[in-house]
């Protein structure tokens, strides 16, 4: 499909520049251009644009997004501005636009921006999930990798993994990726990025799942600012329907920032016959101070021997908190898969492990409340 663009830009010089970019981009046709909102609203329909690029730095245009949407219900509206602003992007999308971009200055930027939002629209109801563990070896990275694939497959939506286990992130190994960019570069550049320009920092696993890989060496942890990391999490929410964040074990500036920014947090624990439940309780106590913690904080147990109702009941009683999911013990499948750079949900699609991961994916998609029947 050829893009038929109507350009609405208040600044005379920028109007000229962007018009040039559009005209010189393959597959794009500039059908109309206006400096004022009134002209665009009154005359543009004659040219049947399928995309409206609207400069919302101008207050009048910013206020008129809804009117454009009402007058051009079939047309994709992409708002443009000088710089990326998350709250502004949210306002644009809520008013009926498909996305908000930084004004494109090259044909490539234009293509990427328009293609990103013309297809699926910008996310503003993204589910961000942080996966917390008290200590290492909780099975959380394995869970995240498998869950991301299940979510992508079952929902058909865009899923992003952010590997913020900054020193020992495992996603590159799990998916056998050779990333050209990592979280280090993304956080370093974040001030100059918008969602569209952030996306190439993610390495694709398939059409739906994209990974922002962890740092290459552990010392880079010092160069990842928490402020930059928080902006990254915010921006990723406009790219993906589901964002899964892998964080370092325990409470540290990175894990705390992720838990605070995420809509929900999963405390992941592997039962190894020592004091794992006590550690999970201690972590949950700390998270009690979060607003709405009962809705936001969930627990998952991995490598569980028995996943039946009685076992769940016993675990919930001991823990004193509802258990959202129990992932059965399939050590051999999981480790063999990880060694080969593949995923358990792929190589054993009918196994109990895959079923439990799929069930968790369904719950997340349905946003069903996980209720706890007090024993």
């Amino acid at each position: 499909m050829a893009y038929r663009i109507m350009l609405v830009e208040n600044d005379r010089l920028l109007l000229e520049q962007i018009a040039n970019v559009i005209s010189s981009t393959d597959g794009f046709e500039l059908v109309a251009r206006y400096q004022t909102v009134s002209d665009a609203l009154g005359q543009g329909s004659v040219f049947h644009p399928n995309i409206i690029m609207l400069d919302v730095d101008h207050p009048r245009a910013f206020a008129a997004i809804g009117t454009f949407h009402a007058n051009y219900p079939e047309t994709v509206i992409i708002c443009m501005g000088e710089e990326w602003q998350a709250d502004r992007a949210t306002h644009c999308v809520r008013s009926g636009a498909s996305g908000y971009i930084v004004r494109p200055s090259t044909t490539q930027e234009l293509k990427e921006s328009v293609e990103t939002y013309a297809k699926s629209g910008m996310e503003f109801a993204s589910e961000t999930m942080a996966f917390f563990s008290a200590k290492g070896k909780s099975g959380k990275s394995t869970l995240i990798a498998n869950l991301a694939l299940a979510l992508g497959r079952r929902s058909g939506e865009q899923v992003g993994i952010i590997d913020a286990d900054l020193q020992f992130g495992d996603m590159t190994v799990f998916f056998s990726l050779e990333p050209s960019m990592t979280i280090y570069e993304a956080v370093r550049d974040i001030k100059y990025l918008s969602p569209v320009t952030l996306k190439p920092y993610f390495t694709p696993v398939n059409d739906n799942v994209h990974v922002l890989c962890g740092t290459r060496t552990p010392n880079l942890i010092d160069r990842i600012s928490i402020e930059g990391f928080e902006s990254l999490l915010e921006m990723a929410q406009s790219l993906f329907r589901y964002v899964l964040i892998d964080i370092p074990p325990g409470f540290n500036p990175t894990s705390i920032a992720a838990v605070e920014k995420a809509k929900s947090t999963y405390v992941v624990t592997m039962l190894n016959g020592a004091y794992e439940i006590q550690h999970a309780q201690r972590a949950l106590e700390v998270m009690n101070s979060l607003d709405n913690h009962e809705e936001r904080v969930h627990t998952i147990f991995t490598r569980v021997q028995s996943t039946d109702i009685a076992a769940r009941h016993q675990l919930e009683t001991e823990l004193g908190y509802p258990v959202a999911a129990m992932i059965p013990n399939e050590y051999l499948t999981v480790s063999k898969a990880a060694n080969d750079g593949r995923m358990a949900v792929d190589i054993e699609p009918d196994s109990p492990l895959t079923r439990s991961v799929n069930k968790l994916a369904e719950t997340i998609m349905g946003k069903k409340h996980i209720r706890w029947a007090k024993p």
Binding site: K135, K137, Q167, P218, F251, A274
Partner: protein, 278 residues
């Protein structure tokens, strides 16, 4: 005491890893127990947020390292660590522990400088200080690696992500410029079924394992349930024997003379009692 010429600083043995759940705490508890047969020992739990030393030894610890931190903030350099230690006793063996905070917020606020000061003080009181850590390169862990006489870098062979993290760990330690003599690569054989060969791991890490602990998952987990370190409860297992070999490697000939000295002090922990003025 206090005579500078005779002052001697104890040996600091740290258990560190960049892979998780490799048995740091279990091995640290056992090593403390074994060394304590012949020397004075303090075991320090620096997994501040989720430490397991008090759990594994089933200690009723009244005070933790958080209390030392508080006291140091008030008293400064004149703060004494001794009153905050918890004694562990089993039969004739006894050693002291400085346990981790009960509260995550307390743990979060413990300063590296405080811990360094604590370890220095403990070095003037004990022959051996055994330190349990977390599996990451944090400011605190790096400070402890600096202060250590010996670092046991513990490894496990299960699946590729673990090997990758161990590789990152050993490479980083090399870059940090520690003497190769100081860092000892110790393999803890887990029960994990794996087709990754040990030689392959040694090749990837670019060095052989200094010591290998045999796989005895059942004995190890039983000791956690009982709260009694393996070398004390059932010294005849292969794991206990191997742990003892490791202790011998670190204590070398010195142990013999200390042993005599220790025997002279009559009861096994009267020496400790004297130290603390009890």
């Amino acid at each position: 005491m206090g005579d500078q010429d005779n002052a001697r600083n104890g040996v600091v043995i740290t258990f560190f890893s960049t892979a998780s759940a490799v048995g740091k705490t279990l091995i640290a508890c056992n090593m403390a127990s074994e060394i304590a047969r012949n020397a004075t020992v303090c075991l320090v739990d620096l997994d501040l947020q989720f430490g397991d030393v008090a759990n594994y030894l089933q200690l009723q610890d009244e005070y933790t390292i958080a209390d030392v931190e508080r006291d140091m903030n008030v008293q400064g350099d004149s703060c004494e660590v001794a009153p905050f230690l918890t004694l562990y006793e089993h039969g004739q063996v006894a050693f002291y522990c400085l346990t981790s905070p009960k509260d995550v917020a307390e743990a979060y606020n413990i300063k590296t400088k405080t811990v360094q000061q604590i370890i220095r003080q403990l070095q003037s009181m004990f022959d051996y200080i055994i330190i349990d850590t977390t599996s990451m390169f944090s400011e605190l862990n790096l400070a402890m690696l600096d202060m250590s006489t010996i670092v046991n870098f513990l490894g496990i062979v299960d699946f590729i992500p673990t090997i990758k993290n161990m590789k990152i760990g050993t490479d980083t330690l090399k870059r940090l410029g520690y003497d190769t003599q100081k860092i000892r690569l110790v393999l803890n054989r887990s029960d994990s079924k794996t087709n990754i060969g040990m030689d392959d791991v040694e090749r990837v890490l670019g060095q052989p394992f200094y010591h290998i602990l045999p796989n005895d998952f059942r004995a190890a987990s039983q000791s956690i349930q009982d709260g009694v370190p393996l070398v004390l409860s059932n010294g005849s297992t292969r794991l206990a024997a191997s742990l003892r070999e490791l202790v011998d490697l670190y204590t070398d000939g010195r142990m013999g003379s200390r042993h005599q000295e220790h025997q002279d002090a009559a009861a096994s922990h009267s020496l400790l009692g004297r130290l603390f003025g009890r």
